[in-house]
Amino acid sequence: MTKKHFLCDIVDAEKCNGCTNCVKNCPTEAIRVRKGTAITIEERCINCGNCIRTCPYHAKIAITDPLDLRRLREFKYTIALCSPVLYSQFHRVMPPGKILNAVKALGFDDVFQESIGADAFMVAARNLLKSRRLKKPVISSACPAVVKLIQVRFPSLIDNIAPLLSPMEIAAKLAREQVSRNKGIPEDQIGIFMITPCTAKVTSIKRPVGIDKSPIDGAIAMIHLYGNILNALNTVPDDSSLAKASGMAIGWARSGGETIAVNAPNYLVADGLNNVISIFEEAEMGHFKDVDYIECLVCQGGCVGGPLTVENPFLARIMTRDLIKKLPDSLPPETLKTADDLYQKGYFHHSKTIEAHSVMTLNQDISKAIQMVSRAEEILRTLPGLDCCSCGSPSCRALAEDIAQGYASVTDCIFKLLENIQDSAQDMLNLLKKEKRIRDMGKGSKK
């Protein structure tokens, strides 16, 4: 059961009716419906949240920290770390200081902007591109679902990932150090909770990539906290001292914002899972050798399209645009200089390499895997090819692979089952006819 803990979403078996919407929409074919309930093959899950988004019965639930914020009591000092997406969720442009103050009023000792991390990431990424030490195209490490997608489906692109902590991780690291320094509180008694628009961030806190331990302690879904924030907004004043991030960094809430900030000479932006996948397919073929920087975000429209957001992503995009027009474009030069110094010290870098998770493989033994592929192909030829998903696997091909691995049987296919039933019905009929003939013959001979 401890293993399950790392999946950022669970299925509420009572609500799940086995409809296979999530199965069909999973980009890594990680979900199957077995015995009427969706199950996730954990190693394949990239935590993109597509299943949560597509489940018509709301049976897929993101595992985040509970709404009553009881975990806050574990720490002496608590910090809410706010995604810039939050500023775009209230139908009208409001000063970030007011929204941040509303979050703080829910019971946190302090509140920090994730966007401070984006401001620092920008400095780091610019430096990294200048150094020319990385394989081109450099793929941004800002979206944790993109990093996991590469680990699972495009491992040959791992060396292209910028070896930088994500803005969320950078912001948490900076916040913890700052509070510890200013308030004299030991770092381990400070609890940092991310107010997140997406599931991928939740998992990257529980199981970080490129570092041993995440600098964040918990995550709370933006959508769960939304009502409370709305209420608090009625009473709290704007506290501009809480909102220090630049407009450019807040612009990362929507796709393209990062690219504007990083300012690479030749760049490419893609958002939405299928678009990101097609970009990586091409990148694997070596098609983007003259592209310096790739910003890929698995949610449509970028983080504003996250599965744990409230506002329509297109409206949220406009809100973000209107807000950043009112904010200073970048941080003051002395702050940028500090970030630059930290970069030179390796402060923003991953401390370990990113591993490949080649989970599409049928068997660890290559010879056995080849036999299984042959077997799967034989099976596939007998399946109807409708990709109807009634068997619980995402396609006929996937079912054939599941059968070859022993995870499913041919009769999971309702068409094959029907064929089998018809065959056995025919057999029965033939048997009955035969019996009748024998009986008739017996009767005949008696006469």
Partner: protein, 149 residues
């Protein structure tokens, strides 16, 4: 001859037919080949090399030939990709192997193909590379990648 030493591992063979100028299906064969290699579980770098070879060979048939086939034969020790087409053939193989040289017409180049990197790219990713061509008849390209090398 090597295969007889290890009779246990049979190689797996596939054949994909490809039509000249069929940009609708272009890339499908190599994408299937890549999927198969992923299921088998070769190292990511090996899969990438084989996928590049298959893709470039497939696109060469689509762009230059009338029709052709990609034939793959995969064993743990050896990945072989044969691209055989009926087509105009290559008039000057040495020149075709030069980076940046292409006979693709302008309308193909405008689509982003025909950069003259196809054959040199294939050679770069392969351990064995054989090109046979006869003018007015067709071309056969054989690529071998040794996954464990």
């Amino acid at each position: 001859m090597e295969k007889q030493k290890k009779p246990v591992t049979k190689d797996i063979k596939h054949e994909y037919s490809i039509k000249g100028m069929d940009f609708v299906a272009a890339g499908e064969a190599s994408s299937n080949i890549k999927h198969t290699l992923q299921l088998i579980g070769f190292a990511p770098a090996v899969i990438r090399r084989a996928a590049i070879a298959a893709y470039e060979a497939e696109m060469n048939i689509v762009i230059h030939a009338w029709e052709g086939v990609l034939i793959t034969s995969i064993s743990p020790e050896r990945i072989e990709i044969i691209a055989a087409d009926t087509g105009p053939g290559i008039p000057d193989i040495d020149q075709a192997m030069k980076e940046g040289y292409s006979t693709a017409p302008d309308h193909i180049r405008e689509m982003g193909f025909g950069a003259g990197m196809g054959l040199p790219n294939i050679r770069n990713v392969s351990d064995e590379f054989t090109l046979d061509s006869s003018l007015g008849r067709g071309t056969t390209l054989t690529v071998v990648i040794y996954p464990t090398a």
